[in-house]
Symmetry: C2
Subunit: 294 residues, 2 copies
DNA sequence: AGCATGAACTTTATCCATAAAAAACAACTT
DNA sequence: AAGTTGTTTTTTATGGATAAAGTTCATGCT
């Protein structure tokens, strides 16, 4: 049966909105809520129904207002708000990055399905999706070959990353001075400086900033294949560093400094300086990753 | 139910081997046949069973020999030898490239499933696989957005292709003179010249040659992401030109000449000359594609 | 006419079942 | 011992069913 995670997540969101007083007085129309929560009206109605049932909202003559106070126990547990597909993704990544699965191992849909507690279909869909990351290969009628998160993989990944980023950085710097992206870059620079000041406690926030920065650079000259490739990078890094927290503070601090130098270089419009700053940053990111692979 | 296309294709192959006298005298062992045909022994046995049943092979005391002559009617029809997944691929590509599907249309799994006569599962798997080609986008819980085989797509595709190919060609030329790839290149050069002589009748053979050539260039410095990208190119071109035969002879003839110039440039090891030959060839491939998109 | 709710219909996410194909095991033969 | 063939077990490819979520239609209210 399909999970009702969309509903549960929406319900939790609505509960938070109620608690934070974002829905004071008469509640907005179903359509308005739908827009705010990004789900269908059908789901909104289901949420409203349950909220009314639990007296979190009061319905009097077709008018809805906030009801009793929201309690912690009103929320659905987080585990019930992620779809099966998401569960599979997380479990697989953990299996791959944590476990000691050797490169060259073959992957068995049925076995993973049993291990993760889902139907084989879900496993297969995930593997198909994931195979574009270059870590898997499908052998028809037979199964999947796990190629491993190896040094080779990292080298090949970074070779492309450098090519793409040099290209994008160059094109970024050639934009007219009137481009709004320059302002966005300036804003990001500020964000970096701010984070640097508080790095001791907030070093966790760097990964979001990193993402924004690299995506901004690509924005000046969009190319779907480059964007897709950056998806691979984000994905891999997200999971890899999620389970590999070693030296996180130092790593991130160093990266912020590199970003700042990189931003300055971009602002200088000097091609050679840009090239150097970009390469320096990527070389260090690569070294960090390689070190953690040993 | 799973299709028995693997068996039927294997059967047809075996029939051809029998007809062509590749299996004269006592037939090879099941294991040997398995190796030659690239299927499991289970399938080999099924094929042998049917061959015996139809008296195409004779079994006397555990020894198998060729039986009566193979007739055309012994073959399974081609349509029965392609898996559902393959059917879906072909039908979808036809739907996309032939039909007048506008960019921005949304794709409906159920509708395609009905139209192609398969279960939704198969459609979905295909779409997931295909989405890495940059022509589709999945919107969860909602459906798929068809982005269209547009001019933008072609421009972005070629931007990457040029980057990758310049990189690979450069690295190819830096190989030591002792590398066996130089011999392969020389062999390909001969094949090109041969084909050029017979171009009037054999122009169809170019696409195989084209593939071999570009893959050879990448072989000197393997990178899975570049290989994967080349898969996209092959796939797209394969289907696009399958239904777009306009000027095929001229196109291919011109491309052969470009390849020959390109090969000569590589053999010269002169970086600048290589760059020019490579760019010239890709520019012309791009122009051809763009022209056909109008 | 334009927006709100209610109800009906369609599509997606997910599980389950099963024939075909592969793989593993077993028993023989040379 | 290595290679055969026969048999059993496991896994993949594919169809089908259904609750959840999305979309469209219908009705009513300003």
């Amino acid at each position: 049966m399909r999970t009702d995670t969309v509903y549960k997540k929406a319900f939790n969101r609505a509960a938070t909105m109620l608690r934070d007083g974002q829905l004071s007085g008469e509640l907005p129309s179903e359509n308005e809520l739908r827009r705010r929560m990004g789900v269908s009206r059908t789901t909104v109605r289901k949420v409203l129904g349950e909220l009314a049932h639990r007296e979190l909202v009061a319905e009097r003559g077709g008018v809805r207002t906030a009801g009793r106070a929201v309690e912690d126990s009103d929320y659905y547990p987080d585990a019930e708000t992620t779809s099966r597909a998401n569960h599979v993704e997380q479990q697989f990544m953990e299996w791959m990055l944590r476990g000691d699965t050797r490169p060259g191992t073959s992957i068995n849909e049925l076995e993973l399905a049993r291990q993760f507690g889902v139907a084989t279909n879900g496993i297969r869909e995930f593997l198909i999706r994931f195979s574009r990351f270059g870590l898997l290969e499908k052998r028809p009628n037979t199964g999947w070959l796990f190629k491993g998160f190896t040094e080779d993989f990292a080298l090949e990944l970074f070779e492309i990353r450098v090519m793409f980023e040099l290209r994008s950085a160059h094109l970024f710097s050639r934009q007219p001075n009137t481009s709004p992206l320059w302002d966005k870059l300036a804003a990001l620079k500020v964000a970096h400086t701010e984070l640097l000041k508080r790095i001791e406690s907030r070093y966790h926030d760097f990964s979001g900033l990193d993402n924004r920065f690299h995506r901004l650079i690509n924005e000046a000259s969009p190319n779907r294949f480059i964007d897709d490739f950056y998806d691979i990078i984000s994905f891999i890094f997200h999971y890899h560093y999620q389970w590999n927290k070693h030296d996180e503070l130092q790593r991130n601090q160093a990266a912020i400094l590199e970003h700042l130098a990189y931003i300055d270089a971009l602002e200088s419009r000097d091609p050679e300086r840009i090239r150097r700053a970009c390469q320096a940053h990527l070389a260090s990111a690569k070294a960090t990753l390689m070190r953690s692979l040993v």
